[in-house]
């Protein structure tokens, strides 16, 4: 079989949520190798706020050696609005992707409003804490935040819990599409055996109401657009949206 399972077209597939402890070097290396074999182009491992620059640099090197583009990402679970704004002020410029897991409604609304938030994530198993309703979607559509769906629970749950999760996801995805909120499908896996090929990952999105093209966009163009937008913003040449320094003149 091919060393690298090429998935036909030239889409750049992304998995922005590989939940592995970067300190576990062996597991991280295995996951990176597998992601490269599965033809992913962009991968991301979330960091806690205690970021070590050396660790990040090492991960980037390992990924680039495997032919992958590593995206730095921070996940945060704020308890209040203030907590969230404090985190964003401190870490926005250090990470390429910021994901907020919304544990209460106050945080969910603030995160959807804030233009510095890239991804909105909700606890998969606690259905009372999934606040992605029409109001949330309207706020998110104005601020360019995307809804992130992790497929790991769909792989490990069975029976009524999976049925409930699918019902919730189908409702949320329908709302997101109505308000044109981008949807990002990530694996959310912590073990190598649960990793799936990009197109298999996209096929799981069929279960909650995305058609083939939308599902493929959710694992390729949507995450890639977020990363590209943020890389542009973080570059030293960025001035404002649509304005960047092309050439610097010499003082006469």
């Amino acid at each position: 079989m091919q060393e690298r399972w090429v998935t036909a077209m030239t889409r750049a597939f992304a998995d922005l949520h590989l939940r592995i402890n970067p300190k576990n070097q062996q597991a991280t290396q295995q996951l990176i190798t597998k992601a490269a074999r599965f033809s992913y182009r962009l991968i991301s491992i979330p960091f806690s706020s205690k970021l070590s620059e050396a660790e990040l640099a090492k991960l980037k090197t390992t990924c680039s050696e495997a032919g992958l583009d590593f995206v730095s990402r921070a996940d945060f679970y704020p308890r209040s609005e203030n907590d969230l704004t404090h985190f964003l002020r401190k870490f926005r410029r250090r990470f390429e992707v910021i994901c907020i897991t919304c544990d209460n409604k106050e945080v969910a609304r603030q995160a959807a409003k804030d233009r510095r938030v890239d991804l909105l994530n909700f606890p998969s198993l606690d259905y009372h804490k999934r606040f992605f309703d029409r109001a949330e979607a309207e706020l998110a559509s104005c601020s360019l935040a995307a809804l992130e769906v992790d497929v790991k629970p769909l792989l490990i749950l069975e029976g009524p819990p999976r049925v409930r999760l699918l019902t919730t996801l189908r409702r949320e995805v329908a709302i997101a599409r109505e308000f044109k909120v981008p949807i990002v499908v990530s694996s959310g896996v912590s073990e190598e055996r649960l990793m799936r090929l990009p197109r298999d990952l996209a096929s799981l999105a069929f279960l909650f109401g995305l058609d083939e093209a939308q599902a493929l966009d959710a694992v390729s163009t949507s995450p890639a657009a977020i990363v590209a937008r943020n890389r542009e913003k973080l570059s030293s040449r960025f001035v404002a949206p649509g304005i960047s320094i092309i050439k610097e003149g010499k003082p006469s």
């Binding site: 079989m1 399972w5 055996r193 649960l194 799936r196 279960l207």
Partner: protein, 104 residues
């Protein structure tokens, strides 16, 4: 009567211990039935065409209308006969000839 369109799927199994042919197809049926129920499973027209133990490659035939259902079900397989196994779709084709040409 309208001819039923079909698709052939080449599947790669990733496992330490290769399951028997019967165990594999039972796991596929179980995954489809779990997700879509017996009525849904009956619409898939699922059939095992070949199972290569050495290369760990299986070929399935499904009805085109149920392709998305089967793909999603295959992605949910975590284990076969109590052993950790993952199933990946290597390729899909309308003819076996094209499928074998692509996966050789």
């Amino acid at each position: 009567m309208k001819r039923i369109k079909r698709r052939y799927l080449a599947l790669q199994l990733e496992c330490d211990v290769v399951p028997a042919e019967r165990e594999f197809i039972d796991a596929v049926w179980a995954a489809v039935t779990k997700l879509y129920g017996e009525v849904g499973a009956s619409l898939t027209g699922l059939a095992l065409i070949s199972f290569d133990l050495e290369r760990k490659v299986a070929v399935l035939r499904v009805s085109l209308a149920a392709l998305s259902m089967v793909r999603a079900s295959l992605a949910t397989i975590n284990g076969i006969a109590g052993k950790e196994t993952a199933v990946y779709v290597l390729g899909i084709s309308g003819t076996l000839k094209a499928l074998y040409a692509r996966t050789q």
